[in-house]
Symmetry: C2
Subunit: 95 residues, 2 copies
Amino acid sequence: MFQPLDPLLHSELRLAVVSLLISVEEAEFPYIKEQTGATAGNLSVQLDKLSTAGYINVEKTFKGKKPCTLCRMTDKGRKAFEAYVEALKSYLNVT
Amino acid sequence: MFQPLDPLLHSELRLAVVSLLISVEEAEFPYIKEQTGATAGNLSVQLDKLSTAGYINVEKTFKGKKPCTLCRMTDKGRKAFEAYVEALKSYLNVT
DNA sequence: TAAAGAAGTTTGTTTTATAAACCAAATTAT
DNA sequence: ATAATTTGGTTTATAAAACAAACTTCTTTA
């Protein structure tokens, strides 16, 4: 009847992050922060969780002398997102 | 960009309950429990929250001598669900 | 060289989600 | 008749999550 929802994705901020990364394929911390409206602290924590789960890849580089945190989806993350969307449909009466 | 998600609906069990009630218009506690796979305790708590929010109506009646808890959506609940689904779309890249 | 800004991280608090334990009434078994 | 089980839940306790405030480090600007 109802398919279980991946708790890692069933979170407003993490879902926004993943949704964003899926469409852009690569984004920097401040950009994600701006687009999602998250605080830096919350975003940092949620990126960590997604990264630990292997859903995204976080690369800490430098842009000139400034630190630059680059995020991109992994294949695992993309698949998880697709599965999540499919599962959601069982709740939304969308065929 | 991303529309806020009503926290009352953005919960696996409460979403399942609402999704169920929207399609059947009325259901008893044990049926909801069975369909959602929830424990009675968890279901009881979540029904309370939905009821307190005015999203569902909970009527305690009797079926012969047995207690019978009947639940149905309210208009407010139906609207909230529709709004939630709309908001979700901003995360799913579904047009 | 002091102050302010950028880019994050860590820590602490408040909510949530959830199951275990509990309760009361009704039914079934002995 | 009464003990045990089932039904239909509620209350309570705990573990996890979400989140923001405070902090850190480096950099740029006054």
